[in-house]
Amino acid sequence: MRGKKKTLDLMIAGVGGQGNVSASRIVGTALIEAGYKVSIGETFGMSQRGGAVVSHIRASKELPPPPLIPPMGADIVVGLEPMETLRTVLHYLTPGGTMITSVRPITPPEVNLGQAKYPKVEELLEAMRKLASKVISFDVYELAARAGSLQSANMVILGALSATGKIPCDEELLKKTIAERWPRAKEVNLKAFELGRDEALKQLKGE
């Protein structure tokens, strides 16, 4: 038995250094401007040192939401690294929820050392397909490189997120927030955003 859900819950998964926290603050800022109460739970004590980083973004028209999304509570999960996406999706995605993932692995040190094995990306995607209504997947770094900077991988994923139409703020507001946050990198970031959006739209239409 579960009570009625009062929040929109989005998670961004990745590895420290991928820009996950910046991306979540863009969504949060835009949602506040769209009239929501917002809370973003993040752990970034060690985030720049290659650990797994997950942001819990919660929006509500009523009370301030608690900082962590309960298990199976995320309406949307987006991931910048495929194994990290699955780690989050398994525990948090509402069955039938929306998800987007990058397919380029970032190998953990223990895998390089031969102490652990990185799963096949296809196997990760297969697990995601069992939980999500639709899996949008592509290499964020390929699109970021095309936009002009590998640093813009997080903007690629925001563009794709916007294309799903599942977050209650329009694309222009997100783009405006990005442009204001990093005025000098505006062009590259918006180009990355658009490449991500176009790729996601293409995959959504391809059903």
């Binding site: 506040i32 004590g45 797994a52 398994l90 050392l113």
Partner: protein
Amino acid sequence: MPRHVIGIDEPGRKALLLGNEAVARGVVESGCHVAASYPGTPASEILTTLGLVADELGFYAEWSTNEMTAVEVAIGAALCGLRSFASCKHLGVNWMMDPLMHITYFGLGKGAMVLASGDDPQGWSSANEQDTRLHGYTLELPVLEPSNPQEAKDMTIEAFKISEELHAPVILRLVTRVCHTSADVTFGPIRKIERRPVVFSSFMDAYFKAMMAKKAPIPFLHERIHRDRMPKMREISNNFPYNRLEMDGDEKLGVISTSVCNLYVDEALSVLGLEGKVAHLKMGMSNPLPDRIIAEFVDSLDEVLVVEETEPFVEHNLKALLKDLSPGLKLYGKESGHIPLSGELNTSIVAEALAKITGKPYSRYTQEVSSLIAEYEPKITARLVTLCAGCPHRATFYAAKRALARLSGGKFIGVGDIGCYGLGASPPLMAFHHILCMGGSIGLSNGIAHTGIDVPIIAYIGDSTFFHAGIPSLIDAAYNGAKITVIVMDNGVTAMTGFQPHPATGFTATGRPAKKISIEEICRACGVEFVEVVDPYDLKGTEETILKALEFPGASVVIARRLCATEQVRRWRREGITPKPFIVDPEKCTGCKLCITTFGCPALVWDEEERKTRIDVTLCIGCGVCAQICPSNAIHSPGGD
């Protein structure tokens, strides 16, 4: 335009603020004059943010050398009649305890002082789950516990008012999920209080009062706390606007929670469909407990669940109250096993406790999701944190291990310290055996040396940590003749907590130029006769110098100096420079894998199919250290060097 949004005086404005930034805004809205801190996760961003706006708003902010000196700055300013603020992580409060334990007896006179502690349930960025509320109890000072960033700002303002009323410091007890949660915060007006410092004499006044009353001064002052301050504190708690009762009067079950747990309880009640059926006392001030509110709360209830992180602090104090108020009441919490005794809480944990009490069904996962987790979870590997690509510490550890291999066949005892370089304990570096506390690397090494053990002893301590707590034990080493080698891992910033400046960086918390304090001069002044500086990116030179230091017949220091790689990339980015990753020549790479198994930079990736190393261009910063390690000269710069 201010350097941070918290500097904008626009009441009613909404901004997405980190809990720590919200506290900083609260400090600004309170008209605080002096703020001091030492960085520590999860509380660091409070002073970072204050430092950005201090000059333009006209108050003073500093990064102090450690938490003790920070709180002394705040106490000194408050004694002069100003409003002052200090912040730190929970463990920093231990350093503050000596000055605080005294000022709580003497009082602050006309000034006001707020201390914010960032507690870290779950130890996300700490090696223990210390609960500052117990320090508040020992200090006999009020403890406030905001549940979200908005409350963090608003309760900072309340804390200053309470401090002024009591003439004593007030503790704002934050937790990671408040410090590091971002949320919409609505601004109030920025208060401007004229800075009018006065000459004070509270210490002697207190003594004279005791002597005039013909009493022993210390018990007299302690009694004064119990007689005067405690009843006032209790009254403040009973009237505190953030100690809120939510009940109709016909409930039989109630929940008492504090801090972020207030929100978990709300959501758990909603998930279980129990909204409006369970009474809820949300507490924003937990020391002392609001006895009258609690009496009203338990009056009609049969059962109460206490939800708090991390010690059963409210639970124990509530039990003491219940003995007279309602001895028959059934109390659930940590001691009954409904709430875990350690770790961070969340909505699910609270829902499980409430389900157990009420008999409502609840499970975290459906059957289907449980079986998917069981199938796929084992295939997902752990992802441990590691030193960044290009990290100079990795090169220093590697060089030291080479030196130790030559000197003693790799036998040694190593002790690390608090900072990024703590990660040097993990494979493949395994550079030391223990980490204890700030400055513990040198202190422990001294003790190990005096056992007479016949292996080299090496202590690794960061630059900021050296200033914080390394100097007294280094003096001990020189004075008492401990034969140890200290490596100062000098990466030019307080990197672990977010690249804050320290006494050797040449700039202050507000970004102004400052006197650069020289680590090597301090070491020499401490009496150490072997002090050398090396560049860790020069592996061979570093190895030779560390070997000489290890062979030196007394305490020795090697300062391994090279800017933090992540900070370097940040500075490059500001200048429009992109790093130039190195390349592995697949023709020359023999697949010996030594670069990964002995050095292990995360930019070195093992290609299982080709059985060769390749370099991840998204991570490599082009430091070139791995090129010095490769026995086949297979790694080179993009230019071919």
